[in-house]
Structure formats: C-alpha cells, structure tokens
Subunit: 187 residues, 2 copies
C-alpha cells in the first residue's frame, strides 16, 4: 500500500510517498515543489498542481495524507496557505484518491509517540522509520513523509496492504537513546 | 472585451461575466457554484474547479478578476476561503488568463464611487450598470459581477475592447435617488 503525504505551502510544497507491507515502510519518493520567486501567485499554484498531478500518477498512491492546520501567524498567511492546500487537495480529488487530514499533534504522536514533539524529533524519526542515511532534505519533504507515515500508522488493524502480510500490528519502537538527543532542553 | 469575475467561497462560489465595448457593459452570464453540503471538502473544491474551467471556456473571457481578501473572521475561515480561492485562481491560470485582484474597497470605489459603501449599494449599482431588471441572485453572483465591473472600470484609457470604440472614457453615473434608499440608516 502506498500513501502520498503532502506538506503544502505557496512557496514550497513538500511531498513524500511511503510504501508499507503492514510492518515495514520504505520510501518511494520525496521532494519539494517550488516555482521561481518571480512567478505570479496563480502561476505558483499552477505549478504546484501540475507537479502533484504528475507525481500522483507516477507513484500510483492509494491515498493522500495532508496536514490539517488550525493555526497560522495571521489571516493573510492562513489565506496563502489555504490556496496551496486547495490545489493540493484538488490534485488528489482529480486522481480519485481519498484525502485524509491529520493535525500536527496527531502526526507527532503517530511518528514520535509524543504530540508535542519538536520538528527535529519528527524528522529524525522519519529517517529511522524509513531506514534513511540522513534526514530528507528540504525539511518540507521530511514533513510530507511524516504525514504519510502518520496515515500508515493510523490504518485500522487488518487493512489490506500490498506485499507479504505480516499479520503483525504496525508498531513503532523509537530508539530512546537516539531521540533523546532531540528532546528540547528544559528552560 | 469580456471580464470574468469570481467571488470565491467553499460553500458557494459566485461568478459573473461582463462584456464591454468601452462605454456600455452587458452581462454575459452569472450564477453560483455549490456542491451538496454532504460532499467532502475536496469534492467541493473539485466541483468549483470543474465548473469554473467549463464556464471560462464557455464565455471566452479575456481576463479574470477576483476579490483580494485581507480580513476573515478567524484563521480557520481564512484557510477555508483560501482553498476555494486557490482552485479558482488555478482554473484561470489553466485557461491561460491573467488574474487581476481587487480589494473590497477598490471594488466599492469602482462600482459605487465610495470605498466604504454597503453591500446592498454595490448590488444595486451592479443592477443599474448592467441594465438588469433586478439584483442578480444569489448575492454571490452579484458580488462576482461587481468584481468584473471593477476591472472594466480600472482598465487604462485606450485599452482595446471589442465592439464599436466609443472614444469616451468609462463614466459611472449613479442615480442618486435610487441608491439613497440603500444608504445605511444613521445610528
């Protein structure tokens, strides 16, 4: 089963596709979509949508996971983010895929095991869970992979997946020694 | 010359196309796009985008005008509005059309002549300027026509238009007796 995660942004939209056999996850692709800073806002949206349509067709995802935002610095940045998120959801709907939304806390809880984890902890767990040599760069790509992993971890037990069925429930065992380093320093 | 105005909203998106020969304006089409309340948010966006693509092709507009929002009740409603606005701008970009944005004050100033006019005054002027028998309904359609008229009135003098060039600058002469009725009552 393949889950395509999207971390939308009008300047840079991260994406990451994760394949799972029910117990192990592997990365299919990840990256970020950006348009030249000089491009008009509608051209930036056009580019985000065009690339997402291409990528969704390329990776043959089964579902799309996207972060659900309730907070933004101000109304103006919420509006801008909404535009990018709108064309991303549209690309998924056009591909006939279900869009599943997760709050930042849900993503952190599913990936790190702690809803108020730091961004770096999440990125480090993405690296560990996918067996990568380094944290995916740019961070938008890592954030998109985190949303995809969150969806994989949120699937009800027994959801049919591709590959050899392991029969085991999906279990996340973070290495406590490795992520302690990323624990925020106490004030 | 034809200008397609859009008043985006996730529940209902108004649209209105205005044709001008440089001095007189006429309505080409107007209406509102809505999806069933039970539809998922991504399906609503899909419907808004699909219909706008169809309508833009049908009315063969030269440019698209859309309201530029800086204010919303809260971040959540700004985000929702941003989604609808994003797919609307995308439809215009896909049709190869320039998207021109106007603030609510610019629209009011161009249509009524007063940047802090009431919504009803704007709708009434839309009716007068387009020689309609009644204010277009629903109000989202009237608001979209107002954005289109704003763009028509904002065109620099000498912009080539279809139809007989009148040589006259576009002039708005509101009937003072008719819109006084819509003036808000003093507190």
């Amino acid at each position: 089963m393949r889950v395509f995660g999207i971390d939308p942004g009008s300047e840079r939209t991260g994406y990451g596709c994760v394949e799972t056999d029910g117990s192990r996850h592997r990365i299919v692709m990840c990256g970020a979509i950006g348009a030249p800073a000089s491009a008009s806002f509608s051209d930036k949206l056009f580019e985000i949508h065009r690339r997402l349509v291409e990528l969704l067709a390329e990776c043959r995802a089964d579902s799309v996971a996207i972060e659900n935002i309730f907070y933004a610095a101000n109304v103006r940045s919420a509006l801008k983010l909404g535009h990018a998120r709108g064309v991303a959801m549209l690309a998924a709907a056009e591909a006939g895929l279900t869009v599943v939304e997760y709050t930042p806390a849900e993503i952190k809880r599913a990936v790190v095991g702690y809803g108020r984890a730091e961004k770096q902890q999440v990125q480090h767990m993405v690296k560990l869970l996918l067996g990568l040599a380094a944290v995916p760069s740019p961070h938008d790509a890592a954030d998109a992979l985190a949303v995809a992993i969150c969806h994989v971890h949120s699937l009800p037990r027994g959801t049919p997946v591709w590959g050899p069925p392991s029969g085991e429930p999906i279990r996340v065992k973070p290495d406590p020694t490795s992520w302690r380093r990323y624990r925020p320093a106490r004030p």
